[in-house]
């Protein structure tokens, strides 16, 4: 039980994610349920192996593996896997697996490929508020990633219907209403998690640094992201921004999240730096 085992398990999880993507691609083209079922099982086992890997790492190092960019990516993939399984269980939007498994594979691929920065043990990064902050933010962002996925599916389906040229996707995707519904559920769940995640982050900052807000670039970007999603939900409620507009917004929102996650560090830095080193 050591780091090598954890790494090996991580690689196995990546292979499982990738094979599930292959399964989902097969399902997309052939529409055979067997492919989808197999792919779903592969994602589930991938998530399980991923979890074991993280547990092994945590026990052997007495550290949660989120202390450099590679580890953070891996945790975000894990959160995405969990969230996808949850959404799949709740709404049975089978075709979303194509998006989720592709994203999982990409994230894990990057995570394994980038050179691993040395992990510096820092007593600051522990405690209830820290863990809940991390957990909620990652789950929230995973949920928003899935909202982006359904947004993409929505746009594909909508385009075919609007231009009166139902093509490859017409039969393979569910109805616009359903896609909009699932996207909306992902959006609200993600937003709620993100909100609580930010609040716990502030509390954690107060506990450690004695202040809620320290003008850290990532703090600013996160609140900015939050405001964009808040605006989207508001527009949806009060100005009927549903369907296409909402789908486009969730996609833009997710790109802003990616920027907040990685871009801020590259451009400016700040005390969240450690996680994306």
């Amino acid at each position: 039980m050591n780091d090598q085992t954890a790494d090996l398990l991580l690689q196995i999880a990546t292979v499982l994610y990738f094979s599930s993507f292959a399964g989902y691609a097969g399902f997309l083209f052939t529409q055979k349920k067997m492919y989808q079922k197999t792919a779903l099982c592969l994602v589930a086992s991938g998530v399980l192996v991923h979890f074991i890997s993280m547990a092994v790492y945590t026990f052997s190092n007495h550290l949660v593996p989120i202390l450099n960019l590679s580890q953070s990516l891996s945790v975000s993939a894990f959160a995405l896997g969990c969230m996808f399984l949850f959404v799949q269980y709740k709404s049975d939007l089978k075709i979303l697996g194509v998006f989720a498994s592709a994203l999982l594979t990409v994230i894990m691929g990057i995570s394994l490929m980038i050179p691993e920065a040395p992990v510096v043990k820092n007593e600051v990064f522990k405690g209830f508020w820290f863990y809940s902050h991390i957990l909620l933010i990652f789950l929230g962002e995973a949920s928003l990633a899935l909202a982006c996925g359904t947004g993409i599916l929505y746009l594909l389906q909508e385009k075919g219907i609007k231009t009166k040229a139902p093509g490859f996707f017409f039969r393979r995707l569910p109805s616009l209403d359903f896609l909009d519904d699932v996207g909306y559920t992902c959006l609200t769940n993600g937003f709620a998690l993100l909100t609580i995640g930010l609040v716990t982050g502030f509390i954690y900052a107060k506990v450690i640094w004695g202040r809620f807000w320290s003008w850290d670039p990532k703090e600013i970007a996160s609140v900015g992201t939050w405001l964009i999603y808040a605006a989207l939900l508001h527009l949806r409620f009060y100005s009927g921004w549903r369907g296409r507009k909402s789908a486009i917004m969730t996609i833009i929102g997710f790109f802003i999240i990616i920027f907040t996650f990685i871009g801020v560090k590259i451009l400016v830095g700040g005390h969240h730096d450690t996680f994306t080193k």
């Binding site: 569910p174 109805s175 296409r244």
Partner: protein, 425 residues
């Protein structure tokens, strides 16, 4: 060898009046099955009747049963044989098998690929089984037809594409709305076209139907027919606020719904999706409405285009399906043939056993000094010689090759061993 015969008529060979006359209700089907069962010369039978076809599938013991069945239909339906004889098709052997497979797979349907037919055939088969009319052959044949139909549905796109305008419209509606039973329909115009369109939608169970028509009286009449609500034509913009699907078929020469009207309504309904189906010529719905977000307008030409491209796609799939059917029919035919070999082998075995028995009896009755063990040993040995002798010929018969006329060898075997024609008993 048993021959499978199928006689019947369908939408291609008979006009609707004749099909109606010859269609069998469920009580009549029972009577027909009773007739087949009583007839000693018919071993198995099945009667299958829908609005597009009436078919009788049976396995006769002797020749000339087809005529008897035609007579029965004529007598029972009170219609002269010449009146329907020309509309009948009579398929025998592998033609019958192929035809059944095509019917079950919906290749022979009026709307190719429609899914109901398989259920109807299953029902007909169930009734035949319940009435003891189905035996080894039909059981296997029918189950094969179900599995080939499912395979074709699974492996080809035959059931995928809507090939009629109303199907295409409903399919679109199903890809826009998650659940049609929660959606309201607004009909603009109360003509025959509107009525037809609604009949299709009703089978999909929509929530409420509202009819708006210039002549209010007609709107009320149509609304009553569908348990809906009638509004005056001037109220149509208001009605639009609550509707989700709009079917328009008025005789108006100008647009009855304009871009501005729908924009206004969209705000009021908080931009919930609207689906316009415009089947009127000239068009009723301003095509510019399609550019409003969450509004989709399909006119009759758009629907026709979809149908046409679907028909093209379906033709390609039909070729694939026909190939699968050909394979399945060949396989079944092969099974039938081995079935004819089995009685031959049995007869061969029986003959050898009886020869051994007779000869043993003769010889052993003259040899009183043998112990019981000796007698048993001799009997076992003679049995073994006999079965060893016919082992290779039997293997030869069982091992049917691809390029060989099995009936020829079966015939030779019968003649060589003088098995006669009694093996079917």
């Amino acid at each position: 060898m048993q021959e499978i015969i199928l006689i019947g008529l369908n939408h291609k060979t008979a006009p609707v009046e004749l099909r109606e006359k010859l269609s069998f209700t469920s009580e009549e089907t029972l009577l027909a099955l009773e007739f087949l069962k009583k007839n000693q010369d018919i071993r198995e039978g099945l009667v299958f009747s829908t609005c597009n076809r009436t078919e009788v599938l049976f396995i006769p013991e002797t020749y000339g049963q087809t005529e008897k069945i035609i007579e029965f239909i004529s007598r029972h339906k009170n219609i002269g044989i010449p009146e329907f004889k020309s509309a009948l098709y009579i398929h025998e052997g592998d033609d019958a098998i192929r035809h059944l497979f095509r019917v079950a797979s919906s290749l022979d349907s009026m709307v190719v690929g429609e899914p109901q037919i398989l259920g109807q055939i299953k029902q007909a088969y169930r009734i035949a089984v319940e009435n003891g009319c189905s035996g080894v052959l039909l059981n296997r044949l029918m189950h094969k037809s179900f599995s080939i139909a499912k395979k074709i549905r699974r492996e080809t796109g035959i059931g995928d594409n809507a090939v009629s305008i109303s199907y295409a419209a409903i399919e679109l509606a199903n890809k826009i709305f998650a659940d049609l039973s929660e959606k309201n329909v607004l009909l603009l115009g109360a003509g025959e076209m509107a009525e037809l369109a609604v009949e299709h939608l009703l089978s999909n169970n929509v929530k409420e139907i509202v009819v708006a028509n210039r002549t209010f009286k007609n709107a009320v009449a149509l609304a009553e027919k569908f348990n809906g609500k009638a509004v005056t034509f001037e109220e149509r913009e208001d009605a639009l606020t609550h509707a989700d699907i709009i079917i328009s078929s008025t005789g108006a020469t100008d647009y009855v719904l304009t871009h501005d009207q729908v924009r206004r309504v969209m705000k009021k309904r908080n931009h919930r999706t609207l689906f316009f189906i415009d089947i009127a010529v000239p068009r009723d719905i301003d095509p510019k409405i399609n550019s409003i977000s969450n509004a989709y307008v399909y006119d009759i030409d758009d629907l026709k285009n979809i149908v046409e491209s679907n028909i093209e796609g379906r033709e390609k799939e039909t070729v694939k399906a026909e190939r699968l059917i050909e394979e399945a029919a060949l396989k079944f035919q092969k099974w039938l043939e081995t079935l004819a070999i089995v009685p031959t082998i049995k007869a061969l075995n029986d003959k050898m056993t009886s020869i051994v028995e007779i000869e043993c009896k003769k010889t052993l009755s003259a040899m009183k000094h043998l112990t019981k063990e000796d007698i048993d040993a001799i009997q076992r040995m003679t049995q073994a010689i006999a079965s060893r002798t016919i082992h290779d010929p039997i293997r030869f018969l069982r091992n049917t090759g691809d390029h060989r006329d099995d009936s020829l060898y079966l015939n030779v075997t019968r003649q060589l061993f003088n098995l006669g024609g009694s093996e079917e008993e």
